[in-house]
Amino acid sequence: MNRDRALLLGYLVAVVAASLVHDAWLLATGLVLVLASAGGRAGPLAWRVLRATGPYLAAVAAGWLGLAMLAGPGGSEGAAGPALARLALRVLLLAALAFRVLPAVSLARALSFSRTLRYVLVLAMSQLLAFRRLFGDFRLALTARTPRRVGPRTAVRHGAATAAWFLRRAEHDAGTLTQALEARGFFLDRD
């Protein structure tokens, strides 16, 4: 087994483990271990994890607080505190694992044992790169059309329009990709 495959396998095992563990202390220990494994890069890694998960965790916490306030002192939402803490720790741990391990893995080498998986990887990568380029264009277009930093309403409207466009584009691309695979004989032996 090559190094990349071993790393990928280790990552997948860790993700499954992090999903099965329900003890907040164990999740916190896992998070500390992952951060510690980064050595001198622990600080930037922690900051990246917080930036990536912060909005999601804040939205979930705000929703929980809102429900607790609506339910009043006798409501059951007050008991959801530990569950919320577990959820936050699990999300932080999964994000830290992804940022710590995946950049070091060459997916092409890790999946080299399967031709089919490599096809899937290349298709996903080419779509991802094309979409990333287009997403950059969308942001630049907004910048070019706005003389100052956009407000939240415009940002949300632009985000929604961008998401809708990408959804339509993904659907169209999926259809074209299937036609191209068919035309090139990818499904020659299906019955």
């Binding site: 092409a108 490599r118 080419s126 790169l129 691309d173 036609q179 090139r184 020659l188």
Partner: protein
């Protein structure tokens, strides 16, 4: 070789092709002209059997393609003999390296010399120096050529090319026009670039904006047929300025010096 009978298609009720009848003989070089959205890509996809018609049928060597594709033997033969270059060539590329990409077809068809064939075709289209690179890291023009080599490596009998010059610079477009004319295959090349039409094929099919076939004949003659070009939305008129150096408009010399008027144009446009 291949023919259509009342071939009709629509996308969610919006017509994209209306009752097309045509017949292509082996060895013909045919250019398919039409403005954006008239159904050129749809027609090529129907001929390649990757889209189902709403009504009508495509016949390959007398056999209905969409029925035949349900049988493995016909499918293998048809997929080897008919190649479709997509307008967006990226859709065709899914292998890790250019060499693997070009060799994919021969491997699918169980040809023993897949790598040798792939190297030879890569050399013919000028891709020898990028064989180990991932296709998605290449320029749009190079990716187009990878797609083309991936088809030619199977030595198909019929090549369907959708806007093959769209991603190419002028020098590469010129090279491709010559290259295609030297190929022995039957060719159908879709384009909306009127100036290339007579270079790409001697026979010209023109699709109108109503998605019908409005012309089937000599490619050179089409360029002079104002009525057909207008119906197909292949010419436009706009105001523009001319300068005649041998006169002086300020002196009231009509038709001399800078002046403005409008007339029909057949500009290249992308």
């Amino acid at each position: 070789m291949i023919a259509t009978e009342r071939l009709t298609h629509d996308f969610d009720g919006c017509p994209s092709l209306a009752a097309i009848d045509l017949r292509l003989e082996a060895g013909q070089k045919v250019v398919l002209l039409g403005s954006n959205g008239c159904g050129k890509s749809t027609l090529l996809k129907l001929l390649a059997g990757v889209l189902q018609p709403v009504s009508g049928r495509v016949l390959y060597e007398g056999r209905c393609v969409h029925e035949g594709l349900r049988e493995r033997a016909f499918r293998r033969r048809f997929r080897r003999e008919v190649g479709l270059l997509f307008q967006q060539a990226d859709a065709m590329l899914f292998n890790a390296t250019v060499l693997e990409e070009i060799a994919f077809g021969p491997r699918q068809h169980g040809l023993a010399d897949a790598d040798e064939r792939a190297r030879a075709w890569a050399a013919r289209v000028g891709l020898s120096n990028v064989l180990d690179r991932a296709p998605w890291t290449l320029s749009a023009g190079q990716r187009q050529l990878v797609g083309l080599a991936s088809l030619l490596v199977l030595d198909p009998r019929l090549l369907l090319l959708d806007e093959p010059t769209a991603a190419l610079d002028p020098r590469s477009s010129g090279w491709l026009v010559d290259f295609l004319q030297d190929l022995p295959q039957t060719l159908v090349v879709a384009t909306h670039n009127l100036s290339l039409a007579s270079e790409l094929g001697r026979r010209c099919l023109v699709l109108g904006e109503d998605h019908t076939l409005i012309h089937d004949g000599d490619a050179l003659a089409v360029g002079r047929d104002r009525e057909v070009l207008l119906r197909a939305n292949l010419v436009h008129r706009h105001r523009h300025r001319h300068r005649h150096e041998d006169g002086d408009a300020d002196a009231g010399d009509p038709g001399k010096g800078p002046h403005e008027h409008s007339h029909f144009h057949t500009h290249d446009w992308e």
